[in-house]
């Protein structure tokens, strides 16, 4: 870099005096001289050595660096950032339970805490070293001395600045020449400490270019565009295939969805001619009977299926108080308006007076918010469920005379259980004893 400086030398005005520089050929001489300069009370001076000379800190009177404390603070910050990051992301913002472990699982957080502590500390140790040393500083007046090039190879230097309050053209030189230097000379600063003009032009150009990205972002944020967004990484977002309900230039009807081929039946769609079983109708009228003989086995099957598919909304007793309904009520409690349609109480008269066929039709195709269950529950099982619903309706609207005397005696002994109904998490044990439907 010196050459660059030297070529500018002639163009510059009268160079200012930076200070006086002494060169030594051994570190022992440097240490001795440093002690003398230190004791003489100079403050703006420095030594320059090719390697860290043992004992120089003491000889110069350098203070203990504060860097370790800064690094300690950075390490602590890293610890807290890591804990905060993991707690916020995995326990607060996006809760995700793994193997039943607690959301804030400190043992599993240790590796990241350790890594970020070290990372923050190391970056600070390096950045702090540069900051405390005033680096990078690509130009320094001392670089003007050709002799100074050996400061990084095999020579030792002391430089006392002219700006030092104790600096004196005669006395300072006298002090240094008494320390047996191998050379002693003044150092001038032709640059005057100013940034050369040549640096401004690229600087201004770079600054202008740096404004372009934020300007583009600003424009994009504030304008609308009909163009689709730019996909840098396609990532299988766009595939060469037809999607349902889209148009096709290939098929004559212009649709990608193809109709069923004539004379074929899709898997699982082959039914026998039993209109009663599959549609709930007999000769076009809602059936009032079951398409099979009612047995206790079917009743139990219906109860089991009801517990799986229906109870979540309608509740185990069919009252419309399933977990979903109760949670929805909680969520809607403090809202004035809601589009929530509560599940029907299956024991209501409006349901009870419907025919078996109508209920079967509802289970098949759904009603209001309820989706049809034809795809999930087989035809036979839907009938079994209707059978069980009938039993629920009877037991929920039962009077004393509907109960056989010996059962009544048992029930009155357990009145507590009856009046309180089934517990929150408890399925009702009482199976309506084969309440025969018509």
């Amino acid at each position: 870099m010196h050459d660059a400086v030297m070529t500018n030398h002639t163009a510059a005005k009268a160079p200012t005096l930076y200070g006086v520089v002494a060169e030594y050929d051994t570190e022992q001489k440097l240490l001795e001289a440093s002690r003398q300069v230190r004791d003489a009370g100079y403050t703006r001076w420095d030594t320059h050595t090719p390697y860290p000379v043992h004992g120089l800190d003491e000889a110069m009177g350098n203070p203990q660096p504060v860097l370790p404390f800064v690094v300690f603070g950075a390490g602590l910050t890293g610890t807290l950032v890591a804990l905060g990051l993991q707690t916020f992301t995995n326990a607060i913002d996006y809760q995700f339970v793994v193997s039943g472990k607690p959301l804030v699982s400190l043992p599993a957080n240790i590796p990241i805490v350790f890594e970020l502590t070290v990372l923050f500390s190391a970056l600070t140790a390096f950045g702090g070293m540069l900051a405390f040393n005033g680096l990078p500083m690509l130009y320094h007046p001392l670089f003007n001395l050709p002799r100074f090039a050996r400061a990084t190879a095999d020579r030792f230097f002391i430089a006392i600045e002219a700006a030092d309050p104790k600096y004196d053209v005669k006395n300072t030189r006298k002090l240094l020449s008494a320390t047996n230097p191998s050379a002693l000379e003044d150092c001038y600063d032709p640059q005057d400490g100013k940034i050369p003009f040549a640096f401004y032009v690229p600087g201004v150009i770079a600054a202008c270019f740096a404004l372009i990205p934020p300007a583009i972002v600003y424009k994009m944020r504030n304008t609308r565009s009909p163009d689709p967004k730019i996909h840098l990484v396609l990532d299988m977002d766009f595939q060469n295939k037809y999607k349902a309900q889209s148009s096709s230039a290939f098929f004559a009807d212009g649709k990608t969805s193809r109709p069923q081929v004539g004379g074929t039946v899709a898997r699982g769609q082959l039914h026998d001619a039993n209109e009663h079983l599959h549609t709930g109708k007999i000769d076009g009228k809602w059936a009032t009977t079951f398409p099979f003989e009612v047995t206790e086995e079917r009743m139990k099957r219906g109860q089991e299926r009801f517990g799986i598919y229906c109870a979540a909304c309608h509740g185990y007793s069919g009252k419309g108080d399933g977990m979903v309904a109760r949670r929805a009520d909680q969520l809607m409690a403090d809202k004035k308006e809601s589009d929530w349609v509560a599940p029907t109480n299956l024991n209501n008269e409006s349901v009870a007076k419907q025919t078996h066929g109508e209920l079967y039709n509802t289970a098949t195709h759904g009603i209001r918010n309820m989706a049809g269950y034809a795809s999930q529950i087989s035809d036979e099982d839907r009938w079994n469920i209707i059978l069980y619903v009938r039993a629920l309706q009877r037991s929920n609207n039962a009077r004393e005379k509907d109960v056989p005397p010996e059962e009544l005696a048992k029930l009155t002994a357990q009145e507590f259980t009856i009046t309180n109904g089934p517990g929150l998490h408890q399925r009702p044990e009482a199976t309506p004893a084969a309440a025969p439907a018509k």
């Binding site: 420095d46 320059h48 793994v98 599993a108 957080n109 190391a122 320094h140």
Partner: protein, 498 residues
């Protein structure tokens, strides 16, 4: 390529491998002083580029180009071009990752742990080893980056940033710990390496003749001028970085081993993995340093600085860690038997005598048997022997990772899903290509950066030098002839001692 050394011919170098504490041998031979050290090291960068370098660089860049093509091919087609498939879903990609990360352990161990233990012999080799570390970690980072065949997924899914998917990474997963561990290790190693290099880059800057060198080294050295006040902060920062990097050396491969150890796959689910992986990493790292340093000191004429004692010390570390690795292999078998878990027992019997028996026994003979030769001093100090053994160790350590990963996966719990992994040409070319990447970076380093930590070596020259004229019972050293043209002060040091 070998240039005549400045002061002595290599044959006349004295033996400095004795272990007598009363006669501590010299660390730098040939009577080098600070001036000569600067000359010797800078010459490597300042000489006209030798033809051998161009040839080596040309070969390395060609292999690197092949790597680039293979990765492009992988990205275009997806991971189907590799040989892995159910049940062996992890194969060469992860093997290569662990292999390279392991190699990347020697540098920081030498520069940080040996620094804290005041092992002064580290100064001649630490720069070299740190560079090797950084390039090895770059090669390692390549594989997780490409292992899903979509490079953008690895960084985008692992980085904790608010994203359009509205999800966060799962911090309880060892795979995420791995990302943090390896990237922290890479960052800290890079800082450590660069910071150590700043004073030496300043030396190159001050000696630079060509304009591009002045600009390059001027910018890289950040205006370092070796001021006493700068050194004061610098040394503190270096010590802090060494202290910070030391636990990192132990943690990185521990965390890598968690990828396996926290799973339930028989053969992976073992508590010995973290220490066993760390020992193996140091083992492979030192072997790689020896493999590279033996030719480098020959070609660059650095035998006074990287002496037989340095090489012997590294061979001793290889012997020690090789024994640890052998112990780990045997204790795994013992626990598999003693633990009484039939799946575990099967996994290990299958490892040694199943379809991959050849890989297992290659591993055992390379990693456990060959380093035992280093018990003999003759072999420990023989250049050809140590070079061959270090190559064997490198091969063995690659096979170790292959054995752990592939044998465990290929024999699943359900025999119907058993399989046998065979690599495709893409697998093989990408692995070879990673050596092209490594060697390209390494040759650039050897040509353009100071390959020996000059300022640290000068410090060692000084530290143990006789100052008051009284000797300290030092060993006799060779290379007394001095260069006349150097204006040396009367008490310039002629030798340095460990």
């Amino acid at each position: 390529m070998s240039t005549a050394t400045a002061t002595t011919s290599p044959e006349s170098l004295p033996d400095n491998t004795n272990d007598d504490p009363n006669r501590r041998p010299a660390l730098v031979l040939g009577g080098l002083d600070a001036t000569a050290v600067t000359e010797e090291v800078c010459r490597v960068n300042e000489y006209k580029t030798p033809m051998g370098w161009y040839i080596g660089f040309g070969i390395s860049v060609s292999i690197l180009g092949m790597l680039g093509l293979m990765i492009a091919y992988l990205f275009y087609n997806g991971v189907g071009v590799w040989g892995l498939n159910s049940p062996v879903g992890w194969a060469w990609d992860i093997t290569n990752f662990v292999f390279w990360v392991g190699i990347g352990h020697a540098g920081t161990l030498i520069s940080a742990i040996l620094f804290l233990f005041r092992q002064n012999w580290r100064t001649s080799i630490n720069r070299f080893a740190e560079a090797m570390t950084i390039f090895a970690v770059i090669c390692a980072a390549l594989f997780p980056g490409i292992h899903v065949g979509r490079w953008w997924l690895a960084p985008l899914w692992m980085a904790p940033y608010p994203n359009q998917m509205a999800i966060w990474p799962q911090f309880r997963s060892p795979l995420l710990w791995d990302v943090f561990a390896v990237s922290t290790y890479a960052t800290v190693s890079l800082l450590f390496w660069y910071m150590g290099m700043i004073p030496d880059l300043a030396t190159l800057r001050d000696r630079a003749k060509a304009r591009w060198q002045q600009v390059l080294y001027g910018a890289l050295s950040l205006g370092w001028r070796g001021s006493g006040r700068q050194w004061s902060v610098y040394e503190k920062a270096y010590l802090l970085l060494a202290g910070l990097a030391t636990p990192l050396v132990v943690s990185v491969h521990s965390v890598v081993s968690f990828d396996f150890a926290t799973s339930v796959v028989p053969g992976w689910h073992t508590t010995i993995f973290p220490p066993y992986f760390v020992a193996g990493a140091i083992f492979s790292g030192f072997a790689m340093v020896v493999s590279l340093m033996v030719p480098a000191r020959e070609w660059f004429g650095l035998k006074h600085l990287i002496t037989m004692r340095h090489l012997e010390n590294m061979n001793k570390v290889i012997l020690a860690t090789g024994c640890m690795v052998g112990y780990a292999y045997s204790i795994e078998f013992f626990i598999a038997w003693y633990g009484g878990n039939p799946y575990e027992r099967f996994a290990f019997i299958n490892r040694a005598f199943g379809p991959y028996w050849w890989a297992y026994w290659t591993m055992v003979s390379c990693n456990v048997l060959t380093p035992q030769l280093f018990w003999f001093k003759k072999i420990r100090t023989s250049i050809p022997a140590m070079f061959i053994i270090s190559i064997f160790v490198n091969i063995g350590m690659w096979f170790e990772r292959f054995v752990i990963i592939v044998t465990s996966l290929s024999r699943d719990f359900v025999p119907s899903s058993w399989g046998y992994f065979s690599p495709t040409f893409v697998d093989i070319c990408i692995f070879i290509g990673s050596f092209g990447l490594f060697m390209t970076l390494f040759l650039l380093f050897c040509r353009f950066l100071p390959i020996i930590a000059m300022s640290e070596v000068k410090n060692v020259l000084h530290h143990d030098a006789p100052r008051g004229g009284k000797g300290h019972g030092h060993d006799e050293h060779g290379g007394h002839e001095k260069k006349d043209d150097q204006s040396q002060s009367p008490n310039t040091v002629s030798t340095a001692h460990a």
